[in-house]
């Protein structure tokens, strides 16, 4: 049996002494499209940053494709789109140059782009419908187009797992629709997708499963539309009353372990 693409077991993440993710368990099967939803500060972004290896968890284990994260080196199987409003840096760069950096998981220490790299970059740009903009400076593109550039960069290494941190935030409607098409194509090809979002919008019908975080804990798992109805997503309010059944309450004693 194929191992799950992402396996998170009892993971807590602590940032400057504050618990942000609390004993979360999560399993994403190969080929599944899962979204992590939640209000600002619910810990969803922190959780995926741990999953891709940017933030070490204070406790718990994370596995990608059945390999513990600290032993995982097959980076080209993983595509990551960080939470950014722009793909620009201090020096102008073309769309092609930015997307080509996504191929460097194959030349991690040294090496220039090969013909195969250029082909993969062009394919990735075609997938996000930006094939005609390759030679343009990223600064000339709209916010939504820049998000698509970052997605193309993640796709350039032909990843089996795509992790995206709020790629739809602040994106115009036209680009949102393009993104929905892109994710639908990728899902059909068997790419596993783990997507962090505020709201699903046009993506809702594509999603297999939604997980809702609040205060660093999973409070809902299942059908996305149901999650929105039940939990009033996006509103900032204190969670009163008992936790939903099946969700273990964090025992505060376990927090001491993660701190100095």
């Amino acid at each position: 049996m194929t191992p799950p693409a992402v396996l998170v077991e009892d993971v807590s993440v602590v940032l400057s002494g504050r618990p942000i993710v609390r004993r979360v368990g999560l399993r994403v099967r190969a080929g599944e499209f899962v979204t992590l939803l939640g209000a600002n500060g619910s810990g969803k972004s922190t959780l995926v940053r741990s999953v891709v290896g940017l933030l070490p968890p204070a406790s718990g284990t994370i596995e990608l494709f059945g390999t513990p994260l600290h032993q995982f080196h097959d980076w080209r199987r993983l595509g990551y789109v960080p939470q950014r409003s722009t793909a620009q840096s201090g020096v102008p760069a073309t769309v092609l140059e930015v997307v080509t950096t996504g191929r460097l998981s194959r030349h991690r220490f040294i090496g220039w782009p090969t013909r195969a790299d250029r082909r993969a970059v062009n394919e990735a740009l075609e997938i996000v419908r930006l094939a005609d903009r390759g030679r343009d400076s990223v600064a000339q593109l709209s916010g939504g187009q820049q998000q698509r550039v970052m997605i193309a960069r993640a796709l350039a290494s032909h990843p089996d797992l795509l992790v995206l941190d709020e790629p739809t935030a602040g994106v115009d409607q036209a680009s949102q629709n393009v993104l929905a098409d892109v994710f639908s194509d990728l899902s059909a090809r068997g790419t596993t997708i783990l997507l962090v979002a505020h709201e699903l919008g046009p993506l809702a019908p594509l999603v297999d499963r939604s997980i809702v975080l609040r205060d660093g804990r999973i409070v809902f798992e299942g059908d996305a539309t149901q999650a929105v109805l039940d939990l009033g997503l996006g509103e900032h309010h204190l969670h009163e009353g008992p936790a939903p059944p099946g969700i273990p309450l964090a025992d505060d004693a376990s927090w001491g372990q993660g701190r100095a």
């Binding site: 990551y80 201090g90 073309t94 460097l104 419908r129 030679r135």
Partner: protein, 329 residues
Amino acid sequence: MLDLWQYEFMRYALIAAVCTGLAAPAIGTYLVQRRLALLGDGIGHVALTGVAVGLLTGWAPLNTAVVLAAAGAIAIELLRSYGKTSGDVALALMFYGGIAGGVLLTAEAGQSAATLNTYLFGSITTLEPGDLRDIIILSVVVLVIAIGLSPQLFAICQDEEQSRVSGLPARAYGVLIAALAAVTVTVSMRTVGLLLASALMVVPVATAQQFSRSFKATFVLAMGIGVVASVAGVAVSFEANTPSGPTIVLLALAGFVLAAPVGAVLAWRRAKLAPFDQAARPPDHDLAEEHPHEHGPGCGHPAVPHGDHVDYVHGGHRHAPHGPHYDEH
């Protein structure tokens, strides 16, 4: 130019100018890309302490400066990447510590301010063959790494997190860029001086950006501008008997002042020519519903001039005649 070549000290000066003119903008492009344009300045101040250590101990000031500058640059990079201190405070600490240490140690060594001046603002015409050899070797090292590793260095400067997730040794390469910047500052010490070395790393890049759309073009153009400014600066300083460092930097800045308006016009034209996002454009041909009569004078629908044609108001919307049918306008 040819008569300059007759003098041995001018030959040394011109070769050193080409070396620094290439190396400084090459590494400077990465610094600007990471938004660390002022790092070179901080390194220059620390290198000053390094020079003073050399004067005090009798070791070659170039060597002590390279070691101390590299140590300072790496410390800044590590502080920054582990998020312990904000970059600008760490830089400020380097500025003050470096210059205070340099002046204090130089006084200890019994050297005058004039000696320090040759390092602060360059003294390209007093190069010894040994100095020139060191400058050439260090510049070649900087250029080989800055060009050879350009795909990887570009990636970590473009998006450090994404490059870490691609498995790149982002932290190690960040330290490498800082160390190369330190080497470049000390290489530029004799041509433009420690306090102005950073200018040669940043100003040509800023000028190149006025014209370029790609990283590669910025990188190559900045090196070209760096060489032209350095060589012209050396020639002018010889003819006009001015200090070489400030002459080179002022020429580079003059290039920027000339380029900036051109760049602004180019950017404005590009913005005007940029087509609308295809997906966002509404369909430009919207057929009106079946219409029982032809619009014309006296058909009962108010006529409204609309550019080169006339629309007819028809129940809250407008019809424009187009061949045998009407378009919605």
